[in-house]
């Protein structure tokens, strides 16, 4: 028996505490409405010493905790160069995220992290990057996009392909101008256009199909619903990008975030520990199995 190594990614910065359950108090500094039902929360860790040693890599996540309500795993969406301010973009869809939506600036929230394997930006240096994001999936990529913008010379062409159901579902639209300014192409598509929409209509995979690209030097970073990501991988293969050039961030039920509670298992993987970012060749055969 000689299984493949579970992950190909480099580890991200380690978590703050040896006790996996220890949380740190954070203060809500700002709240922004993003798309309908989605808000961004800027958090600052209250303890200055803890705040000073907190670091994360793009693609990692925090566990956000509200006493008496519960915990939720949320991607870190802010600039990794300024980890003193941590942005989490959240859709109110459950117990914890609904409670989050009732908080106001100045309220306290507890967090622990960062967790998980980051996007493989170091491994893709020198090549072309294609971010493919469905809806809120862009939240898991914003930190990587801001990082790439800071170090734009490390990469060749950088493209963001972003799809949403409706124009109002496109995430972070006010930032696209700045990203383009930094030399990043941003291309959007929607399923259901409104009268003001002049852009592409259809699935994000259709944008990928038309994108000029050099397969041998490109890497795709993908986040969205499982079927969308499977479609992106299929489309990538058609364009000559094999599964070892596609990375995707998976979502599963996470509780402990350190590979000990078993809830986020996907085949032999702990999504919290071995992911959430996986190289597609590691999960290709599993994604097609129903109810895994």
């Amino acid at each position: 028996m000689n299984p493949l190594p579970l992950t190909t990614g480099r580890p991200g910065p380690t978590t703050l505490s040896a006790d996996p359950w220890q949380t740190h108090s954070g203060s809500i500094v700002a709240i922004r409405d993003e798309t309908p039902g989605v808000r961004s929360y800027d958090l600052s860790i209250v303890d200055a010493a803890v705040r000073a040693r907190y670091a994360f890599a793009p693609g990692q996540f925090n566990m956000l905790y509200l006493p008496g309500i519960g915990e939720a795993a949320i991607s870190i969406s802010s600039d990794p160069a300024t980890p003193q301010l941590l942005t989490h973009t959240v859709r109110a869809v459950g117990n914890v995220t609904d409670a989050l939506a009732r908080l106001v600036v100045g309220d306290r929230i507890f967090l622990r992290g960062p967790y998980g394997k980051p996007w493989p930006l170091e491994d893709l240096a020198g090549g072309d990057l294609i971010f493919v994001a469905g809806g809120l999936g862009l939240a898991s990529q914003r930190a990587a996009i801001l990082d790439v913008a800071h170090h734009r010379d490390r990469f060749g062409r950088v493209t963001i392909l972003h799809g949403a159901k409706t124009p109002s579902g496109l995430l972070y639209p006010s930032e696209y101008a700045a990203w383009r300014q930094a030399g990043i192409d941003v291309d959007c598509t929607v399923d259901a256009p409104d009268s003001a929409w002049t852009g592409a209509v259809g699935l994000v995979t259709e944008l990928l199909a038309k994108l000029p690209l050099e397969p041998s030097k490109s890497g795709i970073l993908c986040c969205g619903p499982d079927p969308m990501m499977a479609g992106v991988a299929k489309g990538a293969a058609k364009r000559g990008l094999g599964p070892e050039r596609v990375w995707m961030s998976l979502e599963r039920n996470m509780s402990c975030a350190v590979g000990q509670c078993g809830l986020c298992q996907f085949g032999p993987y702990f999504v919290c520990l071995d992911g959430p970012v996986f190289r597609y060749d590691r999960i290709e055969k599993l994604l097609g199995v129903r109810c895994l």
């Binding site: 299984p3 078993g262 085949g267």
Partner: protein, 416 residues
Amino acid sequence: MSTPVPQIGDRVILGPEALQRLIEVLAVEYRVIGPMVADGAVVLRDLASANDLPTGWLDEQEGGHYRLHRDESAGPFDHVVGPHSLKNFLFPPREPIARFERVDGVWEECAPAAPERPLAVIGMRGCDLAALAIQDRVFLRGESGDGGAIDPAYQRRRNGLFLVAVDCRRAAATCFCHSTGSGPAACSASAGRQADLALVDLGPGPADGVAAGEGPRRYECRIGSARGGAVIDAIAAELPLWPSPPEDVAAAEQVPVDLERVMWARQGSGGGPGRSLDMENIRDLLYSNLEHPRWLEVADRCLSCTNCTLVCPTCFCASVTEVADLSGDAVTRERHWASCFSLDHARMHGTSVRHTTASRYRQWLTHKLGGWIDQFGTSGCTGCGRCITWCPVGIDLTAEVAAIRETPAPSTGGTP
């Protein structure tokens, strides 16, 4: 024994008084846990005296079947493992992992609770020690520096744990530790199964004025650690103990050898009640058969009751519940055992990823025997047979694996 403090590897003979004294000496420092009869089964509970041990009771186990019956010849350790295991104590079914209090409208995390008394557990078998080694890999993964975490409560209990192992003299029909390399010998240096003291029941010995075989029971005891030696020294301060004579050492070492031979023979004969699990290439076998029709077949019998995961000595899934007091100003975060057989286990966006019984049974078996190897470098099965005995419909994982092995469908699923 007027000799110096007993050393690791020394061997002594303990009589019934010494067994009683062992419990008393341990109780000074430890919470002493051991087997006793309660609720119609041999369970692990707090031991007050050697009289609590299940002397005179034998169990009968089969798929979906567990019965105790009286047998006056049975020693205190002649039962085979019951529903409990070390997991119940090192990774308790419910435990607080954090506490928060709201003072003047501001929530604060409280300091961790004071540590409990350390545990001494008596009567652990080969499969119990194998399960402990497996749970160590889960909860102490961070000690290896591979990026995993350390569960602080488990680590504290584990470091304080005093183990008294006992070699099995019987195997239940559900036992298959011989085929998983987890027994029947309780201790095995090569397999990493260690105990502070390791006992073998030699049965009733000769004595003056009684018929042969009716004397007091004798236990051959091997010292496995310095603190084990200190406990024997404390017993020797009040009771005369003798070094094990060579014939007793030989008899003790023969006990697991003989039992293993019986276990191989009974499953080899085809007609016997035994079981075995062919571990050859088992991870790839299961992962290349993720769409095998057997999963649907077993799902017709499986009740998704979670019994197998509760009695399994290595299953470690857990979830956390918020428990608030009536004021709403004090919250305990309580971790409790979870099961991959429940819908909540893989809940996401208000629905369950594994919404069929077939997918949940497949998750359990492929994880136990396959994914575990990727995750922790070992299978999660110790061959203890608990999941077979305590399954209300007697589903037998050895039969399920054998069925898939017999008719593999390698085109389905995929080895990651």
